[in-house]
Subunit: 285 residues, 4 copies
């Protein structure tokens, strides 16, 4: 609990790294990891993720933030910055339909402490996965969605989610969420799309992949934006397929990639490794 | 030179494997490798690639073909079949613009006997690669192409190619070839596209990849058809990229995938491993 | 249930494919997939896996086997052959210690019908995983093993396993099994080793990997023989690691590869895709 | 030419990042990339690679180094540090035997400016590759090596290399170099081993791989030390193989991995991305 992270984003200019590292040094913090990226040698955007060790950190967050605001951030007016406790697990809600592989993988990794998350609820537009979820002690809420009840359902979603979670994950949730929902939910939303975007946007990617005769199928985890399948990509991967594979085979092979890619994306997000830059991401290793 | 291949394609029906293997047995041939694929359990299309050893094969092609026609093919009227000599190297023409990596890889692998091909000519719409090609003893022909002279240029291409080659390879040839050309050239044409199709169809895929923020870039080797970037895919692969990579970096990383993918596709084609089925391919390993 | 498989292994000689395919044709079976491999062009060992469709197969196994024995196998005295019902799920026992990832993956894939197996029991030398297993309705048997009680424990294992299972899977079972056990259990035993064999044989491969500074870690599924970590390899894969990864990180990354590799190996084995040839395997795709 | 790099290695302690970044800021340099790694949260070894932009850098190296020595390095007595000009190409000698694939790949990438190196000579213990090398304008020196003449040959090597090159690359040079040579040559030496070390140490790795029946073959680029095949690993990769592959097929598939792995290692070394830490490496991306 003595380990913290500091995330920074602002217009690039000389002195940024010095200002931050000097500040941490004066606070008696030891930098144990630092990643920095500028989008351009000149006039780019500057991103920095700093991991530091500071004795008694748990009791000092408020002082630290106040000091940083006045001593550093004040000098760089456009700076967006955030301290974050490494020890703090993120509260995550998962939205599902009928497929269980991504959901189970997240639950399973959370239990193994492979993901620094607490899954605080699962919301399904179908009741099918209730029995899968409840043995793990995770509440399952069934919120049916039809064309007619969509607005109502989203209102129910917001009621459940707002203020209660740090992240929403769409784990093969086969519904489009509205821009209004995304804005009002107030936390990032990550989706797993079952293709190597931007190939096979929209419904039925494995059917399309089979019909096009591709030799690899993939999966893409991305932040959800109003434009379907167009949000900033966090992670992608692929697996080899062949002419022998039916659509069902592609779905089976793809399922392994989907869950791997989604769990990586959730992990990186929750470790503060992902920064958004326009419609792309900076992912610090 | 005692090793041959037999390729077969027809409507699936019982007795096909028996008919072919029985025929080869009666000819005293020993089957050393057999691959078979049916597109569906019922009413599918049947593909078979058979490699066999037969003493004195070189002198017996004509008899073998005549016997197969009357004893086997006559029983399956829709059968398309072809015998092929393993020892015979394919005559290949390569068409290029200014980029040398795919071209050099093919030349280099051909010299190392990694590809069963003789590169009989290189045609460039720019003169840039003449000096790269000629030290290898391969003729380079410069055929400039402009919007106005395109028809003329294709006529010149056909003059050079027709009857002289078994395969045309577009090795980053940055021109669209016409349907008329493809029909009249009379041999298959393979293209390498610098993206993981169907993502980033058309020009500038690395620019598009950078702008979309993908985490993998790829390459696709496919048979050329009239529909640009829509022909049957032979092989694809990808390589991991990151936010640190500029468009130039993507192009550099992608170049390695392009040449690998193209050389695999050429190899498999020339080893008779690739069968076309509609707009997809069957690739026997 | 009308689909069957025929597996054959014998000294290579002309007429083998013809004899088998002709037999199946006369039985009115349609070959839907055929893989064949000879270890050498001359005097090699011949392997063939044939998948066929035959109406009313379920009622005809006995006749089929008798006919094959007299009409085909009698002509090739060294032939080892076996018919196998595609629809029949294999009975599998899993042996574990304290780690759950490989176990859970097999259970989960079995439930999803991704693996054609019924997990009929889990045997643990520690009681830790009992609560993990029982909710799935799978019996868990705790058989403690100490240096002193090893013979006794193996006797108990044999009592549980003999005649009851088609396959034993060691899913990170951290005990060495004796040659006597392997012989008496009478069915194949598959192990997952947490390294890319033959690198890092024996205990502590992730510690060794970290200390050697490798850039990839891997996993190997193999048939168990008396020689520890030396049995015929069925499948291997790797994942990239870096200087940032601690031993725990390597174990975490490796766990994903272990479960993937083990489930592939179990699947291929149960689909009769794997033939043993000396200390290596032929794996038909 | 206004871009430089600063490499640092020392015992970890608070204030290191601040001291360096503050120094660069006072010199009016802008940090464009910074990678930092500590081997342990407590009492580890600290590594930092900093890329900076500084107007008129070319004329200021001497001042910069003197200032850094007195203002920073003096405060951290065990610090090893080095400034390096991004624009400066490294002088590289390549040692070969008869195989050309790694050599050609390095030459080809150097010509394409994919590698920031000038290949100043190629030394072969066989004359075979002279004709391959000379068309590229690179001197080829034939230095035969026999058991009897080894000492003599190494003396000749040192005569050619000492003071003339920044790096020696053994590109499938099938000879063991002595500890004495390594010490006296005074620059790092990188070797490509044709296996996934530590699997298949020593001669004939593809033969061993075939005999062990592995499902992947690999290659390893490492710094050469006195202990054969035991030096710090820079990069590794693998490619899938199958029971169909003969030893020659493994060598062919492996050749592609060898050249890819070696060129990455050379590139990373020449971009100052690789730091040695005991018998392992830190590789900054």
């Amino acid at each position: 609990s003595d380990v913290g992270r500091l995330l920074i984003q602002c217009a690039d200019q000389p002195g940024l790294v010095a200002a931050v590292s000097d500040f941490l040094y004066r606070q008696n913090a030891n930098i144990t990891h630092l990643d920095q990226h500028s989008t351009d040698p000149q006039d780019g955007v500057f991103f920095q993720r700093t991991v530091f060790h500071l004795d008694g950190l748990a009791a000092r967050w408020e002082d630290l933030e106040a000091a940083f605001a006045s001593e550093v951030a004040a000098r760089f007016p456009d700076m967006r910055w955030r301290f974050s406790a490494t020890a703090k697990r993120r509260r995550v809600a998962i939205m599902v339909s009928k497929l269980d592989h991504c959901l189970l993988d997240l639950i399973w990794r959370s239990r193994r402490d492979e993901l620094p998350i607490d899954i605080v609820m699962v919301i399904g537009n179908h009741p099918d996965l209730a029995d899968t979820v409840r043995p793990f002690g995770v509440p399952f809420v069934h919120v049916p969605v039809t064309k007619e009840t969509k607005a109502e359902a989203e209102a129910r979603h917001l009621e459940l989610l707002r203020g209660n979670v740090d992240l929403v994950v769409l784990a093969r949730y086969m519904q489009i969420v509205s821009g209004d929902f995304l804005e009002r939910v107030g936390v990032p939303t990550i989706n797993i799309h079952h293709s190597f975007l931007p190939a096979f946007i929209g419904a039925g990617p494995y059917e399309k992949a089979r019909s096009r005769g591709v030799k690899l199928v993939g999966a893409t985890a991305h932040y959800v934006t109003e434009d379907l399948d167009e949000g900033p990509i966090i992670e992608q991967d692929v697996v080899r397929v062949s002419h022998q594979d039916s659509v069902e085979d592609l779905a089976r092979r793809g399922a392994d990639v989907e869950r791997t890619v989604l769990s990586r994306a959730v992990r990186w997000h929750c470790e503060d490794r992902v920064a958004r830059h326009g419609n792309t991401t900076v992912v610090f290793s």
